[in-house]
């Protein structure tokens, strides 16, 4: 608990608080239970017979103040308030939250551990768990990857299709979530020049169409691109180098988009969620993301 600056301030708070309570008590006591003193001079009379203090103070007013007084005293005895006195319950805000976290751990910890260690197939069979997984996804992943996991803006990958830049095996997906990913594709414009970029763009399009064999840019592709994307263009999930032969294309299928990737490079980044999500949440997400897709 936060400590007060000194015993002086602790005393200051206690004296002012208790003093105020006594003041309020004295106020209602002398109004309701002590006879009023005699006036030295008579108060003015209005409207023929109306004088000050003719009616007693209302009773609801007495009960309101008296009730507040009693509640304040009980509160100050139970909870921290009077300077350094912590109250009979020894309650503190920090203590309260750690107690609640502990209770949460006792109540749900074993269950959550069970989920964190369960087979993915078992998790996928449980509709409620999958609904939880989807909620975790909505809270943490959807604003980039889209609420349908469809990817967004030609910048954030589609997680619902079969293509996985960093690998679609559960262990790979888990690694992506837990530690994040940083893609590093350098831009080649300065090194290769515009003409080569145009040719490589054409070659990449040809890879997608399956007509790359014998293409004039094949030599350059082998020299500069194949180390990451593979000689056959099938990519390398270890490096986050995407498959260039399939239909999926994060940054777009057009020649202009491909050209930009080659010329300027790409530095896609996935933040690490290992600190933000616990093992159970990550396990559920992995189960949900790698579930067998139903053919449409």
């Amino acid at each position: 608990m936060a400590e007060l600056p000194s015993t002086f301030w602790s005393g200051w708070i206690s004296v002012l608080t208790v003093g105020s309570l006594i003041g309020v008590f004295w106020l209602i006591y002398s109004i309701y239970f002590a006879a009023g003193g005699e006036e030295e001079e008579p108060s003015p009379v209005w409207d023929g017979n109306l004088r000050e203090g003719e009616h007693p103070a209302p009773l609801w007013w007495f009960w309101l103040i008296f009730g507040s007084l009693v509640i304040s005293v009980i509160y100050l005895m139970l909870y921290p308030g009077l300077g350094a006195f912590r109250g009979a319950l020894n309650w503190s805000q920090g203590g309260e939250i750690s107690q609640r976290l502990e209770r949460y751990q006792t109540e749900f910890g074993p269950l959550r551990r069970l989920v964190a260690e369960a087979q993915l197939d078992t998790l996928r069979e449980d509709a409620k768990l999958m609904a939880s997984a989807q909620r975790i996804y909505d809270r943490n992943c959807a604003v980039c990857h889209g609420y349908e996991a469809q990817g967004q803006a030609n910048l954030f990958p589609n997680l619902a299709d079969a293509a996985w830049q960093w690998g679609g095996e559960p262990a790979q997906v888990e690694h992506s979530i837990r530690h994040g990913r940083q893609a590093v594709m350098v831009g080649w414009e300065a090194a290769l020049g515009e003409q080569a970029i145009d040719q490589l763009t054409d070659y990449t399009l040809a890879l997608g169409n399956g007509t790359a064999a014998g293409h004039p840019a094949e030599g350059q592709y082998m020299q500069f691109c194949a180390a990451c994307h593979g000689a056959d263009g099938s990519g390398n999930p270890q490096l986050g180098a995407p498959n260039l032969t399939d239909d999926a294309s994060l940054y777009g299928q057009s020649a202009a988009a491909i050209r930009q990737s080659i010329a300027q490079g790409r530095n896609g980044e996935m933040p690490a969620f290992g600190e933000r999500l616990d093992d159970t949440q990550i396990r559920l997400l992995v189960a949900w993301l790698t579930r067998p897709t139903t053919p449409e």
């Binding site: 400590e3 200051w12 106020l27 002398s30 002590a34 006036e39 980039c144």
Partner: protein, 208 residues
Amino acid sequence: MNAVDLHRKLERNSGLLIFGILLVSAIGGLVQVLPSVLQDDLVTPGPGTQPYGPVELIGRDLYIREGCSTCHSQQVRPLLAEVKRYGPYSKAGESAYDRPFLWGSKRTGPDLHRIGGKYTDLWQRMHLLDPRSVVPDSIMPGYPWLAERAADADGSIQARMRALRRLGHPYTEAEIEAAPAALAGLAEVDALVAYLQSLRPPNAEATP
């Protein structure tokens, strides 16, 4: 003495009445506010809490200028649900270098005190300029002009840092000298993103 007598005396002497009103209305502040202001752990930086760098500082001032705290709080309360959703609850010492603090009191959007690192710079940028480009059902307004202006257009960063140093922020002369270079070429949106990315739980181990 009797309360009724006191009342008579007070209502017939306006000077005394004014003094009495001031005294009674000051008690709350004297008990609640005054000792807190002097309480060390509320005004000294907590472990790992560092003053903002120049870019984050400009970003923070933009956060104030655009009124972000009208809709976003920066205080994770010590409640189970909030700790589970946002992360470690906020502590007083974390705000030692916030002048003024930006705790906020209303959440039209989510709390932002632990938002740093959750999304990428690119996403934050797109979202600030046009929220619906990434979150189709977002009700947050877009701030497209942030991309058009330079982060430190009036070159006031050094003056800002000197003012804060006078208030006790430990900026060195070298840091102040280097500040304009750190901001060179940055748009306002870059500074605001840098500030948002700096909103994380303080790393206690990183304290020198």
